[in-house]
Amino acid sequence: MRRIQSMVSPSSAEFRRNEAHNRELVATFRSKQDAARHDRPARDLERLAKQNKMRPRERIEKLLDPGTPFLELSSLAANMAYGGDSPSASSIVGIGIVSGREVVIRADDPTVKGGAWYPLTAKKIVRALDIAMENRLPVVHLCDSAGGFLQLQSEVFPDKYMAGRIFRNQSILSKIGVKQLALVFGHCTAGGAYIPGLSDYSVIVRGTGAVFLGGPPLVRAATGEDVTVEELGGADMHTSVSGTCDYPAANEDEAIHIGREIVSQWDRAKKWDIQREAPEEPAYDPQDIYGILPDDIKKSFDMREIIARIVDGSRFHEYQPNYGTTLVCGYANIWGFKVGILANNGVLFNDSSLKGAHFIELCNQNNTPLVFLQNITGYMIGRDYERRGITKDGAKMIMAQSCSRVPKFTVMCNGSFGAGNYGMCGRAFDGRMLFTWPNHQIGVMGGDQAANTLAEVKMNQMKRNGDAVDQVEVERLWENTRKAYQEQLSAYYSTSELWDDGMIDPVDTRNALGIAISASLNAPLGEPGYGVFRF
C-alpha cells in the first residue's frame, strides 16, 4: 500500500495558528478530565482512607496487568449535568487487560456522594454492559456504591434504559456466556446488591464490603430488627452462610489478587479472524493533527492528512479516488487490523453517497471493519440534487451502513450535521465505539443556520399575522437560539449526555481505535443481508 503524501507544511502560519488553537482545546479537555478524575472533597477522601479503602482508580491500576493500556470511556460523562456533582457520572468504565484477557472494567466511585447512582450513572453502566454484550467482553465490577440517588429516582429507576436495564444486561451477558466478576469493596445496597448477585463470580472484602437489599437503618424502620452491617451482609456471612458471594478477602489488595486469579481461569474467546499485518507506526507524526484541524469549523481540510496520522505506516489504498471525491474511501491498517475507512471531504453528493454505499458493501463482503471519520455538514440539498434522487442515494448509504455485519467505529473529527450523521454511522447506528474530538460540534444544523432559520420563521409569522416585524425581538430570538444551540452543539455537551463513548485527544485516536477494534473481534460477525435498496 502506498503512503499518503502529506501536503501539510508545519512551518506555515496557518498550521501554527491551528496548532495553537487546538492545543488550547486539548489543554482545556485535559484539565476538565483531570478535575473529573481527581478533584474530590477532602472529607470524602479522608473517610475513604479511614476505612482503609483505595480510591477507585488505584483499584483499577492494581487490577490491570502492569505495562498494559487502559482505554477509559466517557471520562467526561455528566460534566454538564447536576451542577458538576457527578464527575464522570460517578463511575469509571474502560477496557483493559486483566490476567492477559480483554475485559470491561466498571467501577463505582465512592469519593462522590458515596458512589450514588445518578441518571447518567445508570446510562453509563448500561452502555458499559452493552459494550460487553456487543463485543463479548467479560466484565469486572468494582462495587462500592450507596445505591440510587434518591432525589432523582424518577430518572434512575423506572424506564427501559434506566437502572433495571443494568440487571437485565447482566442476566443476558451471563446467558450468552460472557463472564462477570464483582469485587465488593464497599456497600452494594438495594438494586446495587444485584450486581454481585447477578455476577458469575464475586469476591467480598471483610470489614468494608457488604451486600444487602436494605441496610440496617431500613431494616430497623421496617421490622424493628436491630442488626449490624456485618451480620446483615458482611463478607463472612455471605461467603459462609448465604452463598451470595463466593470468596472472602481480608482486604482490597487480596480481593484484587483473587479477582485476577479468577479471571485467569476464564477461557480465552477465540477471536474472529480478521486480516492482520504486523503493526507499523504512522509515517507522519500524529501531533500534526493539531496543526491540520482548522481553528474555525467552517474552514475545510483534507481528511487524508488525518488518515495519514492514524493508520499504520500512513499507508492507504484509496478506492475510487476520482469519483464522488467528497467522500474519501479506502483500506488501511490500524495497529495491524485491516479496516475500511470512510472520511468526509465535503458535503455528500449523489455520487459520493453511492460510492460510500458501495464501499460499505465491499467491506462487508471482505470481512473488513469500518471506520467512519466524520466531518460532515450533510447531504447536498436543492432542486437539482433532489431531482437526481439525493434522498434515495443517501438512503442507500444509510441502508448499507445500518445493515453492515462488520463492526463499525466512528470518530467525530470536526462536525456532524444533519442526515450526514446517519450515513456516517452516528450514535443511533450501533457502532461498536464512537469517540469525539474536543473541537467537534454536532446538531441537526449549525448554530447560525438554526438561528437564521428560526428568525426567518418568526419574521414570517409576524408578517403573516400582519404585525410589524419587531427587529429587537427577532435579534433576541436569533441570539438566544444561537446560544442554546451552541451549547448543545459542543462536544462537551455531547459527551456529558453519553452520545459518545468519550472525548479523546486526537493523538490518542489510533490507540483508542486499536483497542476498540481488538475488542470487537471477540464477537461473531452479524448476519449478512440488507433491506430493500431504493434504486
Binding site: D65, P66, G67, D253, E254, H257
Partner: protein, 165 residues
C-alpha cells in the same frame, strides 16, 4: 501490581514496564531491557539483558526455583500476595460440624504453617484434625480439650506473623 520475589532470603519487587519491542522490567526501581527471554523450561537458558547474553541454569523444585548463574547458586520464591498481605483471608478456624475437642496441638503464641494440625475434634465418632488455614500465629484457642461446640463455631483464631523489619 508488582511481583514480590524472595531471592536467598531477601525480598525484591519486580514489575513489568513494557513488553514491546522488548520486555522491560523494573527491579527495586531499576529498569532492565530483556531482549531475549528464553523459555520457561528447566535447564540451561540464555537470555539477553541490556544487549548482553546471560547464561544460567534453572530448575523448579515445588514452589522454589533454583538457579545457577555467574558461578553462583540462588534460590528464589514468589511471595503469594494472598498469604503475605492478608494471610489468605482466613483468620479463624471454624468447626465443620458439631462435636468435642479431643486434643489441642498448639498453644497461643505458637507459629504455625498452613496445613499444620491445630486441634483434633471428634464428631459423630469421627476424629478430624483441623489444619491451619494459613501461616500465622495462634491468637486464641477458644475451646479446650473435652469442651463441646456447635457447627461453625470459631475454635481457633490466627493472627499475622510479626513483620520482619
Amino acid at each position: 501490581m508488582a511481583f514480590k520475589l524472595v531471592l536467598d532470603g531477601t525480598l525484591h519487587e519486580i514489575d513489568i514496564v513494557r513488553r514491546r519491542p522488548h520486555l522491560v522490567v523494573r527491579i527495586d526501581g531499576c529498569e532492565h531491557e530483556v531482549s531475549v527471554t528464553g523459555s520457561y523450561d528447566d535447564g540451561r537458558q540464555a537470555i539477553e539483558i541490556a544487549g548482553s547474553a546471560v547464561h544460567f541454569a534453572r530448575a523448579h523444585a515445588a514452589d522454589r526455583l533454583l538457579l545457577r548463574l555467574d558461578g553462583r547458586s540462588f534460590e528464589a520464591k514468589l511471595l503469594d500476595p494472598r498469604s503475605e498481605e492478608t494471610g489468605g483471608g482466613q483468620d479463624s478456624v471454624r468447626a465443620p460440624m458439631p462435636g468435642a475437642v479431643v486434643t489441642v496441638h498448639k498453644a497461643v503464641g505458637d507459629q504455625v504453617s498452613r496445613g499444620e494440625p491445630l486441634i483434633t475434634i471428634e464428631s459423630m465418632k469421627l476424629q478430624t484434625a483441623l489444619p491451619a488455614p494459613r501461616d500465622g500465629v495462634i491468637a486464641a484457642i477458644l475451646r479446650s480439650e473435652g469442651e463441646v461446640f456447635d457447627k461453625d463455631e470459631i475454635i481457633v483464631r490466627l493472627e499475622d506473623m510479626a513483620q520482619e523489619s
